[in-house]
């Protein structure tokens, strides 16, 4: 069986990982989080024994996202609001979404992304994140309640 190089593996999943990271830390920091996570993963002792690269890298990105400073997103949204849309490429509605996402914890964002973007059932989300199904449902409930304002209008 032909083995893929780290670079080939990276290229295969990079876009997905950046998209996942966007859901978890926002678009501005997603590339850095993915780069850092992949560097840690590729350089780690466990990497040569990993068979499910996709899952491993997803978890690496999630772990990396957790240590990411959350206040960055809030500040960026403030900056973006002060700037002109032509410069940032984001409209008011987009910024509202980012501001809302900032209210959620990393775990909640991850749960939301896996549930609504990847359309996974709670049991699958639980397996992917290493938590219980009950936790998944709790996270979604909390996410919805924190976003009530945005979702209600």
């Amino acid at each position: 069986m032909l083995e893929m190089t780290d670079e080939e593996i990276y290229r295969k999943y990079a876009d997905d990982l950046v998209r996942f990271a966007t859901g978890v830390v926002g678009p501005f920091d997603a590339p850095d989080v993915v780069t850092d996570a992949c560097l840690h993963a590729f350089g780690g002792k466990a990497w040569p024994t990993v068979t499910n690269h996709r899952a491993y890298l997803y978890r690496s990105v999630l772990n990396q996202a957790r240590s990411h400073h959350r206040s960055t997103l809030r500040r960026r949204v403030r900056e973006m609001r002060a700037a002109l849309p032509e410069q940032t490429g984001l409209n008011e509605a987009d910024l509202d979404v980012l501001a809302a996402v900032d209210k959620l914890s990393v775990q909640q964002r991850a749960t939301v992304v896996l549930t609504y973007w990847e359309d996974l059932a709670p049991a699958q989300v639980a397996a992917r994140l290493g938590i219980s199904e009950g936790s998944v449902k709790r996270h979604l409930a909390r996410a919805r309640s924190r976003l009530k304002e945005l979702l209600d209008d």
Binding site: R19, P31, K45, Q107, W117, A143
Partner: protein, 601 residues
């Protein structure tokens, strides 16, 4: 939850995910790529010395716009004003103006400063300079800005303070040479980072091949001090240079440090720099090409009294250039002026040659030569010796003492072999002070011995300020781990575990353990490539278990009305349990005295 909420949440998620940017290039090294401040085709505008800022760019552009607008307005004075405003201010690339930040850089000049030098004539010398640099959120971008500021400073030549520290300091770069522009290629992911420097025609003025090599070397070394830049290409007035100056120096390709070793003293010291204030531990680092890569160093007072000394080895020698870096402690009662001296012992007669003397200010410090540079014991979880609680005596201590042949451990003299020593220390119940030293200066380790105590490896299901609910498990390593993993069906017979550990948790029984009021907590902090164990206060540790939406332990912890348990986020991909396992040190009554988190690779 309503269907409408669900649908809205889905829409919101889609909006968010569609903001995703393109994936970054494959990360090859722990250094990210540099981006030029403007578009790649446009050269950077050289910074004004000490006043470089993003605002200056906008101001310059605006000023230019005004310059165009002004004559039109003047011409029309008294007439109707011009129909349209002539130009608008181009948008700046930074959204929020960032004030410049004082940054330390190294500049490379020339001086005849090496005593008993095997290489004659003025040679490259490194000095310190503080420049003002626009800092950004991106470290590579900040390094790019710092490089430009450093080059501009270099072009302005050595100052009076440099001359006071390095007598006879000079520069080969003609006065008046200007940096017209610079770019850095965004190629680090595919190869070396390359800076292209565009210099004014003055750069080629004058003569003498040494002077020409010298000026090129000064620029190359100054530019490549940043990890992101490996090589330099030169342009004169916008034209790439293939043959430099009337001396006809051929520049075949980008220039690196290796191309200019002829200007180096056989020992170049890049840290500390002349005039630096040094404190213990002190690091000496640089480039060298000495016999068998051996280097000696001394820390001396102005009058020549030796405070500390030792030796080290560079990565290459005897005809090839290598790097060296050595850190050591020293002891000094009062701050004093002195020197860091680096030299080699001549292969012929052993006398000091290629002696580099760097003037420094030496801070007072505790410690002395021969002091142990590291002392540790095999404590579970990797807990540091000082401040730990142990349950067995005698305790085996090992350590490293560079440059010593023997060392005193707890009053007994112990031989040092290949810089390492080990000793068995008998402890008395309660607080022990283990003193390790050379008889002049001592390092003291406080260890508490609890006879009859035990150490257990456990997963924590619930933590509170006065008690812990623990699920004991087994932490196995080596052959035992492999055997158990095969028995449990985690790996096939004949396979071995990837990280030489295996956790077996067969008994889910929870034990509620009282916690001592002053119990100690140590947690592993994985840094890239290594793991450190650091102490946190019990309050800080408990705070990590507050709800942040990331409960790690399924099962017992996951009750809606139950107590909270969420562990720090260092998740690991082991079988079954996620989060830390902890080593609990218990006294004879089963009270928890110490908690050490076990790092799981």
């Amino acid at each position: 939850m309503t269907d409408q909420h669900d649908q809205r949440l889905r829409e919101m998620t889609f909006k968010l995910m569609n903001m995703a940017p393109k994936a970054p290039p494959f990360p090859e090294t722990p250094v990210t790529t540099l981006k030029p401040q403007k578009t790649p085709e446009v050269q950077g505008i050289p910074p004004r010395t000490r006043t470089w800022s993003g605002l200056a760019v906008a101001a310059a552009a605006f000023g230019l716009a005004l310059l165009i607008a002004l004559p039109v307005v003047l011409l029309n004075r008294g007439d109707t004003p011009p129909a349209n405003p002539t130009t608008t201010v181009p948008p700046t690339t930074t959204l929020i103006p960032t004030p410049p930040v004082a940054t330390d850089v190294t500049l490379y000049f020339l001086a005849d400063y090496v005593e008993d030098s095997n290489v004659p004539g003025p040679l490259l010398v490194a000095v310190h300079r503080e420049v003002e640099v626009v800092s950004t959120d991106s470290p590579p971008q900040s390094a790019f800005n710092a490089m430009a500021a450093a080059i501009v400073e270099l072009l302005s030549g050595p100052g009076d303070s440099d001359a006071a520290l390095v007598p006879g300091i000079s520069t080969s770069i003609p006065a008046g040479t200007e940096l017209l522009g610079y770019t850095v290629d965004n190629t680090r992911a595919q190869g070396p980072g390359r800076a292209t420097l565009d210099l004014s025609a003055d750069f080629e003025a004058g003569g003498g091949s040494f002077s020409m090599m010298g000026r090129l070397a000064q620029l190359v070394y100054t530019a490549t001090q940043f990890a992101e830049i490996d090589e330099v290409e030169f342009q004169i007035e916008g034209e790439p240079v293939a043959v430099f100056s009337a001396e006809g120096i051929v520049l075949d390709g980008p220039q690196t440090r290796d191309d200019y070793t002829g200007i180096l003293p056989l020992i170049l010291v890049e840290s500390p720099l002349p005039g630096a204030v040094v404190s213990s531990p002190i690091t000496i680092a640089g480039i060298s090409n000495t016999f068998e890569a051996n280097l000696q160093y001394r820390l001396e007072t102005r009058g020549g009294s030796v405070i500390a000394s030792g030796f080290t080895t560079a990565t290459c020698g005897t005809g090839c250039w290598g790097d060296y870096a050595v850190a050591f402690d020293y002891g000094l009662a009062e701050r004093t002026d002195g020197y860091v001296v680096v030299f080699e012992s001549s292969a012929e007669d052993g006398r000091p040659v290629n002696v580099v003397r760097v003037p420094v200010v030496i801070e007072a410090a505790e410690g002395a030569t021969g002091s142990p540079t590291a002392v540790f014991a095999e404590l579970p979880g990797g807990a540091p010796l000082d401040g730990s609680t142990v349950v067995a005596s005698p305790l085996m201590i090992t350590g490293r003492a560079e440059g010593a042949t023997e060392i005193s451990v707890d009053g007994a003299t112990v031989p040092v072999t290949d810089d390492f020593f080990e000793a068995n220390v008998v402890l008395t119940p309660g607080r022990n002070e283990i003193v390790v030293g050379d008889g002049v200066t001592a390092t003291v380790f406080e260890v508490t011995y609890v006879p009859g105590g035990t150490v257990e490896f456990a997963f924590l299901r619930r933590v509170a300020a006065d008690e812990i609910a623990a699920d004991y498990a087994q932490w196995l390593t080596g052959e035992e781990a492999n055997r158990a993993a095969v028995e449990d069906g985690e790996i096939a017979a004949g396979e071995s575990l990837p990280n030489d550990y295996y956790i077996r948790n067969q008994n889910p029984q929870l034990r509620t353990l009282p916690v001592a009021s002053d119990f100690a907590v140590m947690l592993p902090t994985p840094a890239f490539g290594s793991v450190e164990v650091t102490a946190v206060t019990p309050a800080e540790w408990l705070a990590m278990f507050q709800p942040d939406g990331s409960p790690w332990n399924a099962g017992a912890c996951d009750q809606p009305d139950g107590p909270v348990c969420a562990e720090p986020h260092f998740g690991y991909f082991g079988a079954g349990e996620v989060g830390f396992g902890y080593w609990l040190t218990l006294d004879a009554d089963g009270t928890v005295l110490q908690v050490v988190g076990q790092y799981r690779p």
